[in-house]
Symmetry: C2
Subunit: 336 residues, 2 copies
């Protein structure tokens, strides 16, 4: 990112009618948006969240409250504008684009859906690798392609989101493999499972890690063996946004698993990442520390889809508006 623009941006902010630094993280958002985009006051009118949907073979181990069918059902809910991410994105002036990267359902010609299915879900990683390396790379390419398209369209800010019944399990597995911490310290209740189901979930994830023994020095191997298609697409989106100088807002636990893969592959992508919020999922904190991102919101969210990203994008845009719209001391005739 353009470091000289960070200093220039702060100079400009310090001429605004307020004590220096008094708008706290809003000023950070304004500085970073300038440095990432290369423009002091980027035009933030185009903002897009990509909600990637994929299914998970691991669901057959009974690790989720909901059946896999819900993934496809929720895709239709997204397309109809009735899901949480739709409501919150509309509120923040953000467009939601829904991508089938791996749902176990034949959507046919379904209009409005971005059709990029790599496979009808992952395989059960408690019994073998979730994906081949080729499948993982193909799913990453989906995210990269969409980031390239955003650059061509002039999108100022991208958000990540996901839908995939069972996808907190691969996310816990990814951070366990990469951090070396125990699965138990990194695994929570997902959509709300009880104690017995949580014990089973921990056991299943541990079994998958032992069986597949992913190469912890090879993020792609981790992604392929215990990850997910939507997680791979998010990793690709983050890489693609960084390559195109587009700031990217990562949502919660699952999105951060994707961003973590991207940042392990190319540490420089961290400069392009905003962490939307602190998830209720206990493994999330460890991921964010490893990426070096401070969450913007802490609202006890655990829905995913891009809901936290939608809210945080509104706050980041507010920071840019501070830079753009606030009067300077001279303009306002205020003593300083």
């Amino acid at each position: 990112v353009n470091q000289s623009l960070i200093a220039q941006a702060q100079l400009k902010l310090d001429n605004k009618t307020k004590p220096p630094g008094s708008l706290g993280r809003l000023e950070e958002f304004a500085r970073r948006m300038a440095a990432i985009s290369g423009v002091m006051v980027p035009d933030t009118s185009k903002k897009v969240i990509f909600t990637f949907a994929g299914d998970h073979g691991i669901v057959e181990e009974g690790i989720s409250l909901y059946p896999s069918e819900v993934t496809a059902q929720m895709v239709f809910n997204f397309l109809n504008g009735g899901a949480g991410v739709n409501v919150l994105a509309r509120h923040s002036g953000v467009e939601v684009r829904v991508v089938d990267v791996g749902v176990d359902h034949d959507f046919g010609e379904t209009p409005g859906l971005i059709h990029r299915k790599v496979a009808r879900g992952t395989r059960n990683f408690a019994q073998g690798p979730a994906m081949t390396r080729e499948e993982a790379l193909a799913a990453m390419q989906v995210g990269i392609d969409l980031a390239d398209q955003c650059k061509a369209e002039g999108v100022a800010l991208v958000g990540t989101g996901e839908m995939g019944i069972g996808n907190t399990s691969p996310s816990s597995a990814i951070i366990a493999a990469i951090s070396g911490l125990g699965v138990r310290e990194l695994t929570h209740r997902g959509t709300g499972i009880n104690n017995a189901a949580l014990e089973n979930k921990i056991r299943v994830i541990e079994q998958g890690l032992t069986l597949n023994s992913p190469d912890t020095q090879d993020p792609l191997d981790v992604l392929a063996k215990v990850g997910g298609l939507e997680i791979a697409a998010i990793a690709g989106l983050v890489l693609g946004c960084a390559a195109n100088s587009i700031p990217v807002v990562i949502d919660g636990f699952i999105s951060t698993a994707g961003a973590l893969i991207a940042s392990e592959l190319h540490p420089n992508v961290r400069d392009y990442i905003f962490a939307a919020h602190r998830s209720v999922e206990i493994g999330h904190r460890v991921m964010l520390e490893r990426i070096g991102a401070a969450p913007i919101l802490d609202l006890d969210l655990r829905l995913g889809e891009g809901t936290g990203a939608a809210l945080a994008m509104g706050l980041i845009e507010a920071g840019v508006k501070v830079m753009k719209e606030m009067a300077t001391f001279d303009e306002a005739g205020v003593s300083h």
Copy 2:
């Protein structure tokens, strides 16, 4: 507030297409907005922040970086739409109304300003009482009147804001008097004073408390002796909003001092309060604990004016939209 509506609201939220409780505090906002307004899905189109301006005699003790003239200068900045609160309120779809309740400046006919001046600033509370009890009551009445007017206009959500050079000192004095904690533990750098100035500020506040010895069992006595006209108006606004069943979002340290006076007078007002954010000012946490309010945002803000309230009002409205716009499981054909 209507407790039965809280339970009904949660039932309605639990039918939305999401795991129960997964939208965390957004669901809390939706429940509380229903319970306070008495309407399951209140119309949130009208939202208003009142920015009360007043000057402080204590400034002659050298407790602020900025001269008192800045208070009036900033009033013109608010009226011209160039201040931080204007930018952030526009972003959140909130109207800003600026009230002169005690600025040491003759505004004449200045259009757009709400003229309710009680006095040309407080007196120096290091030398004697800041206000008479009558002045404090008159300034409170300004806030009460404006809340009544909001009820008549159908305003769904009110925010508090303030401008008054020197007003972190009376705020620290108020929480010190009410909590019994030491001034040093409750006093911070305001707009950014250095160590020597901070020591002076602590000494001046301690001197004012010793000299005036406010009756700590009488919130009005505390307000009059060491408070401020804009702080009194905020206390009145909070009381008036509660009396009119209007939810009120309190901004940072100074606004919370006003809300604290209101909640000490009538503990029930706490049910109507949303705390916008956690201020950098160290006394703020103690105030919020005493009121029993959990801050919505934590963005290192310390500008005041209503800037934090503007951002939080957007998030509270997002909670209401979750209730209003999200599809139910049945509507969306999603299994549960």
